[in-house]
Symmetry: D4
Subunit: 256 residues, 8 copies
């Protein structure tokens, strides 16, 4: 319910077409659809210009399918993230139209996308440190595509061979937003943060061994970076980084 | 052994019908049944008004079955919690009467309940942050039912769509006890704690990724909550939250 | 703003005495006083039956004094907790009437209370494991007194001399609420939890050495307790435990 | 050295006015001034549109003063952050013109600013959870002012009194960027993230006790937030959040 | 090589029957058998009165079988601990005489014992908190039997039903050594430590959930115990506790 | 109350000289003196053969003085441990006879001992890794002296110069108990554990830097030692190690 | 691109055979082959004298095969490390010549080596604490062989039987580099570090239980070692230790 | 005692000039001077070619002075590290000749050096990330000077301005050893490790805030580095890094 609707409601009360008791009830009810196991937030697109996504883990295949259906009814795009095979099957079978895009994430987890948001402007780079970081980087890319972006993916730019990153220095300087995806020590973040003045969103990954601590080391390193103004999302959270970019780039396509 | 029994015993000593040596022996023995692998505490219902439950992990199927049997002999209800399939089969086969209620928990763990305690009064709400928190919330609900409550379950009230929670603000204000079940950052606890003056028991769940640390993040957040007087149980411990509610609501049905 | 006030407002809109634009503005403003550096929540007593307290750390002495003044204007009682000497001096000097009660906490931190809530019913025990836990236990006691309770403090009941606790077994069985305050390994919680069916709120303290980890060990032990239904607050949080008790005991004296 | 300068250098080589050996040496030297104890990066403003700041801890007062001087020579603004009293005195005495702005941070640490960047556009909100979070919020505000912003500071919006935040819901919806500053459990981040579609930068603070772990709890909670697309900087890092905002808002004043 | 052998060697040198060069070589070689993948310490029984055991994890089945064989050659008893099914099969097949005792530990890990040390004196109690702690307690018992003890196992003595432990208070007071095996919060250790003056060796187990942290919570609690003079071994280390008891009880049966 | 007293009490009930109600009251009261702030356990010497000690931190100087006085009344010896200067002054002034022994611990913490237990047998070695571990080793030694031992202190035996330890190899082999005090990585424990069959109690110290983590590293290393049967107490807990030795060596002097 | 090539390029610019625009483009491109999913660093052998290796985890079998092929094109040797069965099959099938050496690591991970670097000088010892540490030690040995060394492997030298290590004291003193591979408490590192003046590289392993924390304990212990000048690599990182040795021993065979 | 001395001793036994009993005693005594509180290891220079140093913390000023004196008697150089003002005064007053070099470390800790080892060969670079890392870098430099090196210190090379490091790329390539000193995220290590084939010893520092965790973040990042063959010492351990370099560079000046 936006401000206009609130005015309209109160006007109805004032003019007597809406009873005060009914207004009390309505005011407490912002729009969501209660499926029993979930309350689908149809208001989010209006409130934030961001679509709601279905996070797979812990949900039954039927719940995944039902949530996708409800969201598709509200207009797309719809994302199903971190879904296992059963969840993907159920959701795709129940929601065949339009044809969803499926992106296989590692460890049997998959992102499925139905539809696509209107195109968004902005040169977005996704820079991954190693080949092993590609699944997280891909989750970020597929989510950004659903949100309307056309990101450029630069793989294997780890700082142990710094010239591989320096080859992209011009693109970095001209980017409107950069997502850095790195595991191990996450040092790539600091170097990229120093090479560009664009917003840098860092995604630590659980890639690495020896002292990587399943991504904790990269997470801490990115938070402690010596490059001022870099921000960080959770471990392996390519999904969150894509939404972070959607928040910061011109919302011409998403808002009034 | 309650205080009356102690008086009776000592009166027997005074009157000569009980030898002092025997009294020494008896005084050291409070009532429990020693099955060799377990000492069943028949005294708990008297001492606490709370039934004893069987915690599955680490026990053999035979031990689970035997413990349930011994406890049913002492009067119900009996709970078998966090049991795997083999344990459930053995316990249900060995204890068919009365018909147990079975609630499937995630990761192959199940709660089984034989019988039900007398009805307890009190409006109890179980508020879950996300659909993925439902298995833990369900463990809490099934346990509370065994204890005699009729809790109301509100699913998917996460604070990222705060209006979904605000829709329940009256119920929250009027509740006698509220259990908050949340993973990720557990922020729902603080918002609920600020909206009601009722006792709030928070259950962190191991739901989430990125920096959820298998529930540690939610646990810490709930303990550090800015809402005064909220209390917390262990991660995924819907069972413990149900018992906490049983401790705090009028024990009319359970004690003298 | 309670429900009656909302009806009244909307009735005003309906009857034309309140313009819709004004109603929009009012509906957005629940009652709090904005001091610039703080938004004093005069609504909490109505909403929760719990007074708001001033938490000292990080505030200037002037801010402490001002917040206490604003809250006293709203009716008492008012608590200033974890205040250092400068904060206490400023707050007491600026708010001399009624005479505040001052309780010295360790490490130079003090709780000051102005006024007292109407008496609350319920037998409340505060059981402390060691003499070194007394400062936290005292914070809990002084806060509960401000909230209208008359708690009984049992000091030095640590389980290494279990008979000291067993001497209080009847009082434990008959209590309406028990707060356990313990550092080191926090084992007292589990024993108390097994001896009473009353609500047990556990407060881990930062007392101990060797492997106490500044209270983390006691905190974890209390959360992992084998006594079902015990709940926990943060380390050294005697204040929070008092509010937890206020939430769970009959609110006859505090709200309609 | 920008791309034009590189062309010019190579043109000099081609035309014979620059010897290849000299070019090799130059190509290795991007512009910085080596003070022995520091290499001042005069190139950052060109490369990133961001000024370089002097981080106080670990530096001698003389080094602080010298670094500020060198940076003022390169054009302003200049920030000296987390400086203790001796460092502030030395730096201010050695660099009196133009008059620096001094902002006192807690624990004796101070931010000093000489000059100010050209005005930047964008409605920026800084939302602080509690009064105790104000020092970190102030560090963020003073840094953003130096960078050319006019941020609006909203204090004491913690979620335990959610109506205090809801009072600002329109401003949140219309903001171009929001910085959330919160300690304890950091729940404010998730609620704000759900109310606005603008970029949200979360700053965990070391405020809190019980289980705050000096800010770790808030940090983890913000990273694990259920609000998609929120990003995080390090604990108490108001400085970093300001630079993050400078990266993401229209760089009209800083770039071509 | 004991002191007598050293004298004998040097006497040989003195008398000319041993060349100095040979003595140098011998002096560097204390008795162990080098199997390539292991150096079997035949000297341990002499040096410590303790048999050497084979720790399964990380070894091939062939290595396990070979090590057991080599140790049986040196005289028994021989223990193979934490062995998986393949390792047990290989070792038992290769070393059938005398008939080994096999004790199944949880998670597919098994202790196998060939032979038994001469009987040791001393009343040893193994007190386990819950039925789920029995596998670790059993590892301790079977190891102690191999070392010559006849320990008494008391199961399910957790402190939430403190009377179950108090029933054994006389045995505790009269024991020569007590091993406490407990998971969750490990509180049993402190209560036992206060009831007996005998040596208490605490074994934390990885049993528990909510905040048990795979045994870390019990470990920390045992180390921080309020009962003076209690000592601790590693998580689930029933094997180590048995050896600790062997070190502290009269070594009449084990040494010369 | 020992078993004889219990018989006597019950005999009184039987013969009619003790009323049952009085017996109930008595049975609940095991002997301790309640000072309000502490419950002094006069029963411990009988129950455990171990004296009770006063742990200074968190107690007022007056409480320390009072507790020492109460314990001296019950017969000695009395230990005041980890006391600061004020506590020592108050306790010594209030309890001048017999002359206490004062041992200065580092960081202003001191152990004071009044009296001494009857001599205990047994060759006890305290082996310290470095000179910086001496304060903890000294706390252990002074406590053991109070308990009746004459321990031998071997300083600076760290394994980086392994020959320094090997010089004591005969004494190690012949010891009845060995306490190892070590910080940094605590490796000394494993080497000593392999050289002797005697009980080894390891005390990690907070000595070290780089990755010592205030003693956590040494603690973990000692718990994970490859030497079977070594046991561990908390960090810097020389006091606890002394009591552990008192538990395990022949109690001829302390019990019947 | 080495310095000579840079001179040559600039000479080309000076003489007019290379256009400045082309030089700009070339200068940004150091030699690597971009396979899309990876940027193969053919320059590393020139820059560092170290071959590039393919780290298996997170890569598809096809990517592993392709990377090995690309690297073999650049000259060998090529290592594929931590590869699972599918990756090994694909890589070996696609790159049969020359015959690769395959070393099976534990948990289904394998090191494969194609070719071998020219022989390097230096006596290198790999000292492993236990048989269970052999897989990590073997990874180190096979990697060193690929790099041109002939290391000597000493197994089962754990300090609980210190004479087994002392038997190798002369070799330790004469070694040019020593790699210590140890789990549990990692104490072997300190003893070896004290016996030799050679470079010591310590590799903690995830071997151990009780308090080994999957190698964290050994890692911390090695970093906190009392033996000055010992250095450490990550947990189970036998690969990294081999490269560390390659960096420090005479690079006669590898560089000009 | 070196091998020659051992031969000589045994020859004495053979020839009858040394009694076997005396030889047993001598063989157990390697050369150290026992000062009671310390065992000075005069053998280290012979055994390792490395001087012994005195680590200040935990020692009394008198012990520091005495240890320095004893070591100077054995020939120099002697280092006193991490000494506070009192320790420095006592040690310098007691050991005035030759004139010691004093290097002030931060937080009141100081390194003092008496004498200097013969010059060692090798180009050693110490690369520090920020000015705040200089105290640790200086500890490393002054220690290396005492050991006979002439290291070159490069300050303020942090990767956020990567061109500052690239300016030293030739020196890095030609160095014989590089020490990297960095706090915050420690990313400098990975970049340096990729630019040189020389041995790289990384020293994490406790510099940083936000998520630096007092150096833990840098430590983990360095251990998890993507640059193969880099090794690490403990936090702030400039001293240890210097000794690591002394172990790996040609020992021409130090050993036979």
């Amino acid at each position: 319910m936006d401000e206009a609707a609130l005015h309209s409601l109160l006007e109805g009360v004032r003019s007597g077409t809406v009873a005060p008791d009914d207004a009390v009830a309505i005011l407490r009810r912002l729009p969501f659809a209660d499926l029993g196991y979930a309350k689908v937030d149809h208001h989010r697109m209006l409130r934030q210009g961001l679509p709601e996504a279905v996070y797979g883990p812990g949900k039954t295949p039927e719940q995944c399918a039902g949530l996708v259906r409800e969201l598709l009814n509200g207009g797309g795009p719809v994302l199903l993230s971190r879904a296992d095979e059963e969840q993907v099957s159920a959701a795709v079978a129940a929601n065949p139209v339009p044809e969803p895009a499926v992106e296989v994430h590692r460890r049997g987890l998959t992102t499925v996308v139905w539809g696509r948001a209107p195109a968004r402007e902005g040169r977005v780079m996704v820079v991954a440190a190693g080949t092993a970081d590609l699944p997280v980087a891909s989750e970020c890319v597929v989510t950004m595509r659903a949100l309307g972006f056309e990101p450029a993916l630069h793989a294997d730019c780890g700082v142990a061979g710094i010239h591989r990153l320096l080859a992209s220095v011009t693109e970095l300087a001209e980017a409107d937003a950069v997502v850095v995806v790195a595991g191990m020590e996450g040092a790539l973040t600091s170097v990229v943060g120093g090479l560009t003045g664009a917003p840098v969103v860092a995604v630590p990954t659980s890639v690495g061994y020896g002292a990587g601590l399943e991504g904790i080391t990269a997470l801490l390193g990115m938070l402690a970076t010596c490059a001022a103004g870099v921000t960080v999302v959770g471990i392996d959270n390519g999904f969150g980084a894509a939404f972070a970019v959607a928040r910061l780039l011109p919302r011409a396509a998403a808002g009034p």
